[in-house]
C-alpha cells in the first residue's frame, strides 16, 4: 500500500476571507481537512494590561477597540460591570436609550456580517444593499455619538449626553422601512439554490457540542440551544420589551444565517418599542455625583461643580473592593467583563470574555472532515472580529 501523504496549506493571516488577521494551518488529504490549527494574536494590543494603568472612565475608550463593528455594545458591557461594582442605578431614560442604540448596533453588525459572508461565498450583490442600510444606521448613531466606529458614548452612570431632537424621527423612519429591506436580502439569498448548496449541511455543530466548546450567540442558538443573556440575565431594562429569541435546528451555516436574519427583525422590534416608550428624565445617574460630571453651564458658574469636574476628569472615581462579572448579548455572543477592584481608581484586573475568541475555538471541530472550500463558509458563519479575539 502506498504511503498516505498529507499536504499542509497555510491560509492567512493576509487573506480576504479570514475577516482580519486570522491564520489557519490546514492539513489536507486531497480536498478533505484532516486537521485545522488556528493561529491568532496578530492584533494583540494588550488591552487587559493597558486597562490596569487607566482610570475607570479612561479604560472605557479601550472597549471600543475590541469588537469594532459594535462599539456601543462593548461600552455597555463595560459600564454595566463598573456600575455593578459601584452599585449605582441608571435612570430609565438612559437604560432605554442604551437598549435602543445597542440594538441598532446589533443590526449594523449583522448587516456587515451578511454582506461580507455573502461576498465570501460569491454573492456580491448583497454587499451593496446591506452596506446602504448599515450606512443609514452609522449616520444615525453618528448624529448622537459623533463617531462611527469608536463612540465611547455609553458612560458609567448613563450616557455622555442626551439625544438631539433630530434623532428619534430618523430612527422611526428607519424602523418603518427596515423589515422591507430584510425581505429584500431574503429574496437574494434564502431560497437561492447556489446559496443553499454552499451553506446547508456545512460545518454542523450539535447543541451539546456547542455548549461543550463554550459557543454562545447566534451560532449556539442555530443549534437549538436556548441561551440569550438578554433573557437569561436581563440587563438595562430588556425585560420591558417584547421580543423573541430566534432558534435554528440543524446548526449548519444556513441555520446561522437564518437566525441572524430573524434577529435583525427582532432587534428592529425592540428599537421600535424603545423609541415609542422612551421616558423623559435625566440620562446620567444624578444620585451618584462621584461618577457623573456636572453640566457644562454649571462648571462655569459654580466653584464646587468646577472642582467636581476636574476631579472626575483627572482622577476618575474609586470603587469598593470586590469583584463582579457583568455580561451582555453582543452581536457575536456573550460579551462579559470580569472586574476586580482593590479600592483604587483603576481596575486591579479587567478580564474580557470575548465571544469571538471562544467561538473560534470551535472552528477546528467544525471544519475537520469537511471540504477545504467550505472553510470560508465556516469562518464566515461564526462571525469573528479579530479585534476582540486578540485584544
Amino acid at each position: 500500500m502506498a504511503e498516505t501523504r498529507f499536504m499542509t496549506v497555510n491560509m492567512g493571516p493576509q487573506h480576504p476571507a479570514t475577516h482580519g488577521v486570522l491564520r489557519l494551518l490546514l492539513e489536507l488529504d486531497g480536498e478533505i481537512i484532516v486537521k485545522a490549527v488556528p493561529d491568532i494574536g496578530y492584533l494583540h494590543r494588550g488591552i487587559e494590561k493597558l486597562a490596569e494603568s487607566m482610570t475607570y472612565p479612561q479604560a472605557l475608550t479601550l472597549t471600543d477597540r475590541l469588537d469594532y463593528t459594535s462599539g456601543l455594545s462593548n461600552n455597555l458591557a463595560y459600564c454595566l460591570a463598573v456600575e455593578k461594582l459601584l452599585d449605582i442605578a441608571v435612570p430609565k431614560r438612559a437604560q432605554y436609550l442604551r437598549v435602543l442604540m445597542a440594538e441598532l448596533q446589533r443590526i449594523a453588525a449583522h448587516l456587515l456580517w451578511v454582506a461580507t459572508h455573502a461576498l465570501d461565498l460569491g454573492a456580491m450583490t448583497v454587499l451593496f444593499y446591506a452596506f446602504r442600510d448599515r450606512e443609514t444606521i452609522l449616520e444615525t448613531l453618528e448624529l448622537v455619538t459623533g463617531a462611527r466606529l469608536t463612540p465611547s458614548f455609553i458612560r458609567v452612570g448613563g450616557l455622555a449626553a442626551d439625544i438631539p431632537e433630530t434623532f428619534l424621527p430618523r430612527v422611526r423612519a428607519f424602523v418603518e422601512d427596515f423589515p422591507k429591506r430584510v425581505d429584500e436580502y431574503e429574496t437574494l439569498l434564502t431560497e437561492n439554490i447556489i446559496w443553499k448548496k454552499r451553506t446547508q449541511g456545512i460545518s454542523p455543530m450539535s447543541g451539546a457540542d456547542c455548549i461543550n466548546y463554550g459557543v454562545t450567540g447566534p451560532v449556539l442558538r442555530a443549534s437549538g440551544v436556548y441561551y440569550d443573556v438578554r433573557k437569561a440575565y436581563p440587563y438595562s431594562s430588556y425585560e420591558d420589551f417584547d421580543f423573541e429569541i430566534p432558534m435554528g435546528t440543524n446548526g449548519d451555516v444556513y441555520d446561522r444565517y437564518l437566525v441572524r436574519l430573524k434577529e435583525m427583525r427582532q432587534s428592529n422590534r425592540i428599537v421600535k418599542q424603545a423609541a415609542a416608550k422612551l421616558p423623559p428624565g435625566p440620562v446620567t445617574a444624578v444620585d451618584a455625583p462621584q461618577v457623573t460630571p456636572p453640566a457644562k453651564e454649571e462648571v462655569g458658574k459654580d466653584i464646587a461643580a468646577l472642582i467636581r469636574h476636574f476631579k472626575i476628569m483627572e482622577q476618575g472615581f474609586t470603587t469598593p473592593r470586590g469583584e463582579v462579572y457583568a455580561s451582555i448579548e453582543s452581536s457575536k455572543g456573550e460579551l462579559g467583563f470580569y472586574l476586580i477592584s482593590d479600592g483604587t481608581n483603576k481596575p486591579f484586573r479587567m478580564k474580557i470574555r470575548p465571544p469571538s475568541f471562544i467561538n473560534l475555538g470551535a472552528l477546528s471541530k467544525m471544519i475537520e472532515g469537511q471540504m477545504v472550500a467550505d472553510v470560508v463558509a465556516a469562518i464566515g458563519s461564526i462571525d469573528i472580529v479579530l479585534g476582540e479575539i486578540d485584544r
Partner: protein, 171 residues
C-alpha cells in the same frame, strides 16, 4: 439560602475542599483548594443537580505580593438552571493546575491564554502553547511586575534598528 444550592452541596460533599464562600453584589464565589480542583469540577460538570454545562471563562489574576500569589477563576453557567457560579483557586508561583479541558472543551484555549499571560502551567493539557503572543516572547505580560512599556518604547526606531544590525554583525 435558596439561591446557592450548588455551594451548599459543595460544602456537603467536599467539606475540606471549600475554603471560603463569598457573596458580593448577588454573585457567589467559592474558593476551592487547588488539590481538589478535578473532583470539584467533575462534580459541578457531571452531577445531576449541579449541571454547570457552560464554562463561560477562565481568568488568571496576579495579586502582586499576596501569598499564594495567583488566582485562577472559573466562571460557570448552567443553561438548565440558569444560574452562575464562580470558582476561585489559589495558586502559588511556579505551581501547576490540573486541566479541565477534558470536561469542557472550551477550557483548551482559555487555559492556554492563562498560561500565556501569567505563566501558570496546566498539567495534562493536550496542547499547552502560547496563544496570543509569539512563541519566542519573553515573560508573561499580565504579571504585575511586567513593565507596561518596553525598554525601547521612547527610543527612535532608527536607533533600535541600528543596534539590532550592530548585534547581528557582532554575532
Amino acid at each position: 439560602m435558596a439561591r446557592c444550592t450548588a455551594c451548599e452541596r459543595l460544602r456537603e460533599k467536599f467539606p475540606e475542599a471549600v475554603l471560603a464562600v463569598a457573596e458580593f453584589r448577588g454573585e457567589t464565589t467559592v474558593v476551592v483548594d487547588k488539590g481538589r480542583l478535578r473532583e470539584v469540577m467533575t462534580f459541578l460538570n457531571r452531577g445531576d443537580e449541579t449541571l454547570y454545562d457552560l464554562l463561560v471563562d477562565i481568568a488568571g489574576v496576579d495579586t502582586g505580593n499576596e501569598s499564594p500569589r495567583f488566582f485562577v477563576v472559573y466562571l460557570l453557567h448552567s443553561i438548565k438552571f440558569n444560574n452562575r457560579l464562580r470558582i476561585k483557586i489559589p495558586v502559588a508561583e511556579g505551581a501547576a493546575l490540573d486541566t479541565v479541558s477534558d470536561l469542557w472543551k472550551s477550557a483548551d484555549w482559555m487555559e492556554r491564554e492563562v498560561y500565556d499571560m501569567f505563566g501558570i502551567a496546566f498539567s495534562n493539557h493536550p496542547d499547552l502553547r502560547r496563544i496570543l503572543l509569539p512563541d519566542d516572547f519573553v515573560g508573561h505580560p499580565l504579571r504585575k511586575e511586567f513593565p507596561l512599556k518596553g525598554d525601547d518604547f521612547d527610543r527612535p526606531f532608527r536607533v533600535c534598528l541600528a543596534e539590532e544590525k550592530g548585534n547581528q554583525a557582532d554575532g
